[in-house]
Symmetry: C2
Subunit: 329 residues, 2 copies
DNA sequence: TTGAAAGCGCTAACAT
DNA sequence: ATGTTAGCGCTTTCAA
């Protein structure tokens, strides 16, 4: 194979008989250029099959037009849709997107934070479930978080979790459920998602019922989760309504319920949470609270861009949720 | 707020009372250094909170340690799992991963190819469904494709589609199905996936049955797809077995079947394809052919790294599939 | 064991 | 309308 030397501005300049600067100007459409020069330069570029070295440009500009998405894993309906929506919007704005699956591993999350601090990326969207990463508190670089409290100065985009909780529980109450159980992840995760539980408890208390919540970690296997749900059915055979904190769990609960001869919705009603694309395609029967994923993506991108552009005083936002009526409740 | 000047090698060198070279050596653990010097330099780095500029290093090395994943969308169980597995492996090897959702848009795919040619990424994993992008034929830069023929010199990692097709159809035949229909996407997509259809046709012909295939584009809405399936049930009310080309379609077919009062598996059997994580969690009842997604990821990463390291003669591989027995067939 | 100097490929003052 | 030059921050020969 022929050893190919990389073609640079200089080579184009030489062939076109102009200076590097002129070539750079043609490349960036900047400054005054005569048509003749422009043509000469373009011809030379074509002839040499010139390709600008973006890294060099990045070094000069101190900007990479790269952002990283730090979520537990993209292999989950909610995050998959969210990341796809984020990528779509960033792409339109000329940003490339790094996939940062943190696996809920603080070390990996810190790696991505380092990328930001090292100026390898211009910004970060984080939605991981780790906590206590102190660097978040210190940095003033652009970070937007989704459904998670990260640090005082970091804006959060979330959906209206309290309202979502109310909608879900009210639906079960309206369905006539007497014994409603909630599943959530361990509450120490410092997420606005706790508000769902708050709403559940408030509404239960208001109706003089005892709130019962089962904790299920996000990052364990389906089998592990099913084990918790079996325990739940054994400990509370009277349960007739479940408000699950996400659709995957709702789906697992329905399956485990079958083992206990519970038929949904006749003798068990289930309301899920998230309402992502994939879930609705694969489990259309699920009644659920839908988070406005596309709008959340739009907002997060908007806020991050403001931060990247140096704007201060960027505020958190909360977006409304929607009830999706189907047949499990 | 205080205007912070970025700390560079020079600053560290000055504070430590050594040269840039020495600091660089400490940073990279290269060459002979006295312990005293090393300590001095580290102290200075700590004091200044020095962070190396990776872009500058990339410019020098002409290597970004970045790869891009070009697939139609990550918002799909198969691609989500595949991309997550790829990211996990690349991360362990020190590569970062760009998410390239091509939306089956050739222009977007070309953009990512450009990233590669511009040396902004070191390699590409492609699994999009576009075709006729001539640049693929010309480049000698590192590209590995998954389940898709891209160009003569580009290695393909695929699962054994022919075997998968045989397994699926044989299962339906064993179940006693007399009128089996196959769904696939338009055949011009130059994918090894055509082999599934080939297997279907071969087996049908062998059993003296007429093969019937319905084409469903990958990148249309669920509603659009359901429309095709309704047409299928109307045109072929005798159908009693379906070999769907992916699990999402299988799921949609089962739903549409209900509209036609078809009860699965009693009077309609369905075998899907892919067997991704999410699908199995959300639609565990689906009998399907499972692609070895983690192994495909492992192999693709391995091949791409060989290419990045300059190895030639990197060969395509085919990996075995597996039948997942459940209740829809 | 350490340093000086050149250069990775590009951009932007500043000059003409 | 175009060119000269300095420099973005780092690594690496080469020399000492």
């Amino acid at each position: 194979m022929v050893e190919k030397k990389t073609i640079k501005l200089d080579d184009v300049a030489e062939l076109a008989g102009v200076s590097k600067t002129t070539v750079s100007r043609v490349l960036n459409n900047r400054g005054y250029l005569s048509d003749k020069t422009i043509k000469k330069v373009h011809d030379a570029m074509d002839k040499l099959n010139y390709r600008p070295n973006v890294i060099a440009r990045q070094l000069f500009k101190q900007k990479t037009n790269l952002v990283a998405l730090v979520f537990p894993t993209v292999d989950n309906p909610f995050f998959a849709e969210l990341e796809a929506e984020l990528e779509k919007r960033f792409d339109q704005l000329g940003y490339r997107v790094l996939m940062g699956n943190s696996q809920n591993n603080p070390a990996k999350e810190q790696d991505y934070l380092k990328l930001l601090l090292n100026h390898q990326v211009d910004g970060l969207i984080v939605g991981s479930h780790n906590q206590g990463i102190s660097e978040y508190q210190k940095t003033t670089r652009p970070i937007v978080s989704i459904e998670r409290f990260v640090g005082k100065q970091i804006p959060v985009v979330s959906s209206d979790n309290y309202q979502g909780g109310l909608l879900a529980v009210q639906r079960l109450l309206n369905d006539g459920c007497k014994h409603i159980i909630h599943t959530n992840y361990p509450i120490n995760l410092v997420s606005p998602n706790e508000l769902r539980q708050q709403a559940y408890e408030d509404l239960m208390n208001k109706h003089h019922r005892k709130p019962i919540t089962y904790s299920v970690s996000f990052d364990v296997s389906d089998e592990e989760k099913e084990r918790v749900f079996r325990k739940m059915f054994r400990e509370h055979p009277e349960v007739d309504g479940i408000f699950a904190d996400n659709d995957t769990n709702a789906s697992l609960i329905i399956r485990v319920g079958k083992e206990f001869n519970r038929h949904v919705p006749d003798d068990l009603k289930v309301v899920g949470y998230d309402g992502a694309n994939i879930t609705r395609t694969l489990s259309p029967e699920l009644t659920t609270i839908q988070q406005p994923i596309p709008e959340m993506a739009t907002k997060a991108v908007e806020l991050l861009l403001q931060l990247i552009e140096g704007k201060t005083n960027v505020k958190s936002v909360t977006l409304p949720v929607k009830m999706i009526n189907s047949t499990t409740a």
